[in-house]
């Protein structure tokens, strides 16, 4: 793909824990094009945040490869990492704990600018920070404020300004609106979309909220216990949902339509442990369609253009 920005091949991130090895991200491959939003959805503990953090080198990958602009960035030294940070940024879930409480918000935004060495005077730094804060809609009177003086929505705007500071090509948005009330959440989602149209960066949008991910993404990956179970363009995924887990996830969202109660697919039990998982489909234990064949390792296969599913039984199950 000429337009490809990020390519991840067979990425793995394991953690050693007393009980064995936690397969947090286990053989995940995908690409993200320039200016695209890839939504990654899954429940807590499925490895979606770990995936985002591993790609931008907040965590070191265990195996597999990461490419940025077709350049292998799986292993980088300190100097290269610093350069990478300008291109890849992250907005965290909790705007309360991801800002330095002792730094005025203006200085929070100035910090990455300073690090870059692109600016030579205080006045230049201040001017650039002002531009950024205007971009994300932070009032001028708040620029000298400390994070505790701001509400969650504004704090998240500061986090976004900080991530944008050096004009990155790629931003991991790790549940950026989950901690916000709906009326505030809508404003932040709109902001992220406007900024993308203006500046053209790609997002990897990690969330557990399917309605948010549907709203904002071009393509969606559904994760379950460290693996992708389904991957498709957004419209296709919602029009032709194939994997039993994706179906269950969709049907579990409480709908605001009171006249058409959704047919809920009841899942048995809860997400199993990612520690020393057995081969075979990891969803099988909870899947209403599971058979003997599901004990075999599953492969992500393309069933129609751009639509990948990892389930050996989809032809029997149907849509």
């Amino acid at each position: 793909m000429a337009n490809e920005l990020i390519r991840v091949e067979h990425l793995k991130k394991y953690f050693k824990v007393p009980a064995g090895t936690n397969h947090a991200v286990d053989d995940v491959s995908f690409t993200i094009a320039r200016g695209e939003t890839l939504g990654v959805v899954g429940e807590s503990g499925c490895g979606k945040s770990t995936l985002g953090r591993t790609i931008i080198h907040l965590l070191e990958s265990t195996d597999g490869k990461i490419f940025l602009n077709d350049k292998d960035i799986t292993h980088v030294n300190k100097a290269e990492l610093k350069a990478l940070r300008e291109k890849m940024q992250i907005v965290f879930q909790d705007p309360y704990s991801s800002l330095n409480p002792r730094l005025r918000i203006e200085n929070t935004v100035i910090e990455p600018l300073k690090m870059s060495g692109r600016f030579h005077s205080k006045a230049e730094l201040k001017a650039e920070a002002n531009k950024l804060m205007e971009l994300v809609g932070i009032d001028e009177r708040l620029r000298e404020a400390y994070p505790h003086e701001l509400d969650g929505g504004r704090r998240q705007r500061v986090c976004i300004a900080r991530a944008l500071a050096l004009n990155p090509e790629f931003i991991v948005c790790d549940e950026p609106v989950s901690a916000l009330d709906v009326s505030i959440q809508a404003a932040v989602l709109n902001l992220l979309q406007e900024l993308q149209q203006k500046m053209g960066m790609a997002y990897m949008f990690v969330t557990h909220d399917l309605s948010v991910v549907k709203h904002i993404s071009d393509n969606i990956c559904v994760m379950y216990l460290g693996q992708l179970v389904e991957k498709a363009p957004t419209k296709e995924l919602f029009a032709h949902t194939l994997h039993p887990y994706t179906k269950a996830l969709l049907s579990a969202i409480p709908s605001t339509d009171i006249h058409h109660p959704m047919q809920r697919i009841r899942l048995k039990g809860e997400i199993t442990s990612p520690i020393n998982p057995k081969p075979g489909c990891r969803f099988a234990a909870r899947c209403p369609y599971a058979t003997e064949a599901c004990q075999q390792p599953q492969k992500l296969e393309e069933v129609s253009a751009g639509h990948f599913v990892s389930c050996c039984r989809i032809h029997e199950i149907g849509e």
Partner: protein
């Protein structure tokens, strides 16, 4: 009409460092026998304070119930002596807290925590109590063999089931569920909501379900009250609120939800921020964010008025039930 619980003109304030936080400002609501009332609003709207006021578990100081009545079967709970309240809590009224991770005692087995409630309110000997506690675990879908396990051995969804088992142990007549599924994943949330609905049906419990999630309300409640800055701004049946949302705030809530059925339209957030509860506007608390606000709204606080039987709305500019379809 048999209103089982009636809250009348409740006002609760918190005093913090010399400032007064107006958390609940003249709230009235009713819950009928066997019905569920959904109380929906954003962070800081006063939802949890109302529930805690009903149980009288607000810490005083800083909290103070300034005025109002809380009538349970005609008896004012606010006038009861503390010794009688001890019988009410966990007996007649039980509460499910939001965070199952902190609502359980980490040093006590889950079975014993249920047993504790049971023996406090009944004359069970230990053996009957333990058997009953085991049955409660089974009721919420946990094998009774797990009686002797500790909370840390359970997952989030399972812990919430234990909390529900505790709340239901003494067949309460009123259940206060404060964001019972907010801390849970959607598939687990679906299981827990199903369970709550089933048990409600089985035991004919009345319930107040507190949440910020309109979807959860749509799936579980017969009646809905929308709360903003400590005041109820609209209330009615589920159909009233979802088919004919009328108050500008209710409409704003619906419009700011990303929609699962419509295609990528731009979201319409509500402009501005909820007001500072230590410094509420003189008139309608929503006026500063409201697109329809007039001079009158800023001067005077609107009263709830009935638009159609049972559908109430506190807004000067809205005299007809709205027409917007839920979520459109």
């Amino acid at each position: 009409m048999s209103d089982f619980l009636k809250v009348k003109d409740l006002e609760v304030i918190y005093t913090q460092a010399g400032r007064t936080v107006h958390a609940v400002n003249g709230v009235s609501l009713e819950v009928r026998k066997g019905h569920t009332l959904g109380l929906v609003g954003e962070t800081g709207a006063g939802k949890t304070t109302i529930a805690k006021a009903i149980l009288r578990i607000l810490p005083d100081p800083p909290a103070k119930i300034k005025r109002g009545e809380i009538l349970l079967d005609g008896e004012d709970l606010l006038k009861k002596p503390e010794s009688e309240m001890l019988q009410v809590r966990g007996g007649k009224i039980a509460m499910i807290f939001q965070d199952p991770m902190t609502a359980l005692n980490p040093l006590m087995t889950v079975g014993d925590q249920i047993l504790e409630v049971l023996t406090l309110h009944n004359d069970y000997d230990i053996k009957t109590g333990m058997k009953k506690a085991g049955e409660m675990l089974e009721t919420v879908g946990i094998p009774a063999e797990r009686y002797g396990e500790y909370p840390h051995q359970f997952s989030g969804g399972m812990k919430q089931r234990v909390v529900i088992a505790m709340a239901l142990a003494c067949n309460p007549e009123l259940l206060l569920a404060d964001e019972p599924t907010t801390a849970l994943d959607v598939t687990i949330q679906a299981q827990v909501l199903d369970l709550i609905n089933e048990l409600k049906e089985k035991f004919q419990t009345s319930m107040i379900l507190i949440t910020h999630d309109l979807g959860v309300i749509a799936q579980t409640c017969e009646n809905v009250a929308v709360i903003y800055a400590g005041s109820i701004v609209e209330s009615g049946t589920r159909e009233d609120i979802f088919d004919h949302p009328t108050h500008p705030y209710t409409i704003g809530l619906f419009e700011s939800l990303p929609n699962m059925t419509a295609e990528g339209e731009k979201l319409k957030p509500i402009a501005g921020m909820p007001p500072d509860p230590t410094d509420l506007p003189e008139g309608c608390a929503f006026a500063p964010r409201c697109p329809y606000a007039t001079e009158e709204c800023r001067r005077r606080k609107p009263e709830m008025k009935e638009l159609s039987p049972g559908h109430l709305c506190a807004c000067f500019n809205r005299n007809e039930p709205g027409t917007l379809k839920g979520g459109a």
